[in-house]
């Protein structure tokens, strides 16, 4: 795989991770590979090499998409015996079946997080939401649809793509909400009961890789005594520490007020897990120690 193609794939993965969220990119990545296997014309033996190229490209994604990487690693392991198949169709069918199983595995874990998440929302709560994490959105939707709870959501304006997504979902579900700029949060601290968050990755050195702005919001909530809830299934737990997560650091030229300057920015925030009050995964509420221990059992 050429460097250009690798960079192109990296940009696509980062785009989806940024605008669609960590859960969606995991499912999208697996679905994309299913369709790629449907179209590929290669012998089972060749497929091994081709798959290794894809995995190498996904592993080099910035930041690392841990859930997708680990699920693809599991798939690679299970698919290996099929590389000896003589029939291309049989090998392709096996690949598609195994990948479908990985999607179901992820979805079942995500659904379990949603179920446990419902235990942390009550009527008349005001929930603060920062990024359009699908796990958080699902909890809010289920709380309205199945539990018929009445609560209010305060959405912090994030970017021109993700904020409208959240707004549209809340509008469709008729969940009362208010969208405010991030710097306006200070005016609502007394109204907010809980902060709900998702995560791209949780590292063993107790850091959370999360969308830009999350660290500031968590810090403000911590100081204001607002309880922070982190919802992420254990497939998002990494074995690698925060410094190995390949968070992208970019410089860009900005022209403002008749002058230009360079801005250096990171693609994601690192949040200290100690600032999070409640961590929920597919098994329910877990402690910081359990997060580290579970990490050892994943991938």
């Amino acid at each position: 795989m050429s460097d250009d193609n690798r960079q192109m794939l990296d940009e696509l993965l980062r785009y989806h991770s940024g605008v669609r969220g960590s859960a969606r990119i995991t499912i999208l990545g697996l679905q994309a590979l299913i369709r790629a296997f449907e179209d590929v014309r290669a012998t089972p033996r060749e497929m091994g090499g081709l798959l290794a190229e894809v995995l190498a490209a996904v592993r080099s994604s910035r930041p690392k998409l841990i859930a997708l990487i680990d699920l693809l690693a599991m798939f690679e392991e299970e698919f290996r015996p099929h590389l000896d198949d003589t029939d291309m169709v049989v090998a392709k069918e096996a690949a598609i079946r195994l990948l479908q199983e990985k999607i179901e595995l992820y979805q079942s874990k995500a659904a379990a997080v949603t179920r446990h998440g419902l235990e942390h929302i009550s009527s008349w709560n005001t929930i603060l939401v920062h990024s359009a994490s699908s796990v958080v959105t699902n909890i809010l939707i289920e709380a309205t649809r199945t539990l018929d709870l009445t609560f209010r959501v305060l959405v912090l304006q994030l970017d021109p793509v993700r904020t409208p997504q959240v707004a549209r979902t809340l509008e469709e579900e008729r969940i009362p909400h208010l969208i405010v700029p991030m710097h306006d949060l200070c005016h609502y601290q007394k109204d907010v009961d809980k902060l709900f968050l998702g995560a791209l990755t949780i590292t063993p050195d107790r850091k959370v890789v999360a969308p830009v702005g999350t660290a500031a919001v968590v810090s403000i909530c911590h100081l204001a005594g607002i309880r922070s809830y982190l919802f992420a299934n254990s497939l998002h737990y990494s074995k690698g520490v925060a410094s190995t997560q390949q968070i992208l650091k970019q410089r860009e030229e900005v022209e403002e007020a008749a002058s230009s300057y360079q801005v250096t920015r990171h693609s994601h925030d690192l949040v200290d897990l100690a600032l999070i009050d409640v961590i929920v995964n597919e098994y329910g509420v877990v402690t910081l120690d359990e997060v580290s221990r579970r990490d050892a059992t994943i991938s």
Binding site: N5, L9, R35, V40
Partner: protein
């Protein structure tokens, strides 16, 4: 007004100056044309009431009506949906991207104006090709070229046809019947030439799992970006019905006697009444500068005609060729083709209409073949260079917005041979037609 050497000289000088300014794009085309008209009015070559009488309101109404219908249809989200579905059908195969998008561009440009067509198609083609690591330039240029070819097939597809149709009274059906064969043949030739000259760029990706994987992620990105606004079925249904009404009225012009301009405005007004969209916002999408440009040029050419300049050109350039119909038809075709490559084909066609009328008075050519030669030459010739047609400039501008710069020479390298080939196809078609009918 009494014709004098001064008014003759002034009208020719102003006309040439406007032509020059339009070609080098010093100022907006409409501004150049109307400024030229105003100069002639102020110096007394024509008074404003007389000048206004030269405007062909049939052409203006037809363009205005179609622009309104397209503006409403765009709001329905149907064009975004169409282009995304085409992108999905390509599955990242470069040859499919070229062929499928070209076919859609050809069909769309036959019924919408070419500028609108490239504005719909080019952004998604750039997104798709850049995302696949392909060179987007060939694909962008191909869409501009194909829009000019596809637009040639109908009365409403390309401005030169609108001008010829309303000046001569040729119907929608006549355009479709007489021009469909050379247009389809030229489309096939153009696509073949693009493929044969760039075969290495059209390699399939079926053996490359990583690329297939990237294609799926790219298609998802395109779906997400281009389908943000859900399809408005109510607007789509009414828009399609009114576009259908306009086309039915064009096709049945011989029975109803309703001119294309009236048919277009009638359909557009029915659509606005049915949909109740905010008229002010629709009007913002109408290309008023193009309509004013047309109006200004009609006046400038009308004054030239009145001053006897057009008659002089006809007698000394075209009528000196004799009365051999083959020579007449092929000369009009190739002169129009080459001239339209360097000059804007709209003013060129407006200038040529009275010339061709005089040629026909001197030596009739059957089946309006001289008009078809002018239409094919002016439309296909627009492909010769970047400045030959508005669609070329808009396609390149749209690509530039997405970070893809296409130079005049890069465009010329792809388009020149295709233009010559399509003019050759047209020459064969017109010659065979003439041979069969004489």
């Amino acid at each position: 007004m009494e014709h004098s050497v001064v008014s003759l000289t002034l009208s020719v000088a102003v006309f040439l100056l406007v032509y020059f300014v339009i070609t080098v794009e010093w100022v907006n085309k409409a501004v150049a044309a109307l400024l030229g008209v105003m100069i002639l009015v102020v110096v007394g070559v024509a008074d404003e009431r007389h000048a206004i009488s030269f405007v062909d309101f049939e052409t203006i109404l037809l363009l205005l009506g179609m622009m309104i219908i397209v503006a409403v249809l765009r709001r329905s989200g149907v064009f975004s949906l169409l282009t995304v579905r085409i992108a999905e059908m390509t599955r990242g195969n470069p040859l499919k991207i070229l062929v499928l998008f070209s076919l859609v561009t050809a069909v769309l440009s036959a019924f919408l104006d070419n500028v609108t067509t490239v504005l719909i198609i080019v952004p998604i083609v750039v997104e798709l090709t850049v995302g696949l690591g392909l060179d987007p330039k060939l694909f962008v240029i191909s869409q501009a070229v194909i829009s000019n070819i596809g637009g040639t097939s109908t009365l409403i597809g390309d401005p030169p046809n609108v001008i010829i149709g309303s000046a001569v009274g040729l119907t929608f059906n006549e355009f479709a019947i007489y021009l469909i064969v050379p247009v389809v043949a030229s489309l096939a030739v153009a696509l073949f030439m693009m493929w044969i000259r760039n075969r290495s760029r059209f390699a399939t990706i079926h053996h490359d799992l990583a690329k297939l994987f990237a294609v799926e992620l790219l298609l998802e990105k395109i779906r997400f970006q281009f389908l943000q606004t859900p399809l408005d079925l109510r607007l789509l249904g009414r828009g399609a019905a009114c576009l259908g009404l306009a086309i039915v009225l064009f096709v049945t012009q011989g029975i109803t006697g309703i001119s294309p301009g009236v048919a277009a405005i009638l359909s557009a007004m029915v659509l606005l009444a049915l949909t109740r969209v905010r008229v002010e916002s629709v009007m913002e999408d109408v290309e008023w500068s193009t309509l004013l440009f047309f109006a200004g040029l009609f006046v400038l050419v009308g004054i030239l005609e009145e001053e006897g300049v057009i008659e002089w050109i006809a007698h000394n350039v075209f009528l000196s060729l004799g009365d051999n119909p083959y020579v007449m038809v092929l000369t009009v075709l190739w002169v129009s083709g080459i001239a339209s490559g360097f000059l804007d084909n709209i003013p060129f066609t407006i200038t040529m209409v009275p010339v061709v009328e005089m040629m026909l008075e001197a030596a009739p050519v059957p089946h309006n073949l001289l008009w078809w030669a002018l239409a094919l030459g002016a439309c296909f010739g627009g492909n010769l260079t970047l400045v030959g047609a508005s669609a070329n400039i808009v396609a390149v501008g749209s690509a530039r917005q997405a970070g893809v710069d296409i130079s005049f020479l890069e465009f010329f390298r792809v388009s020149a041979l295709i233009t010559i080939a399509t003019l050759a196809v047209s020459s064969i078609y017109l010659s065979v037609f003439l041979w069969l009918t004489l």
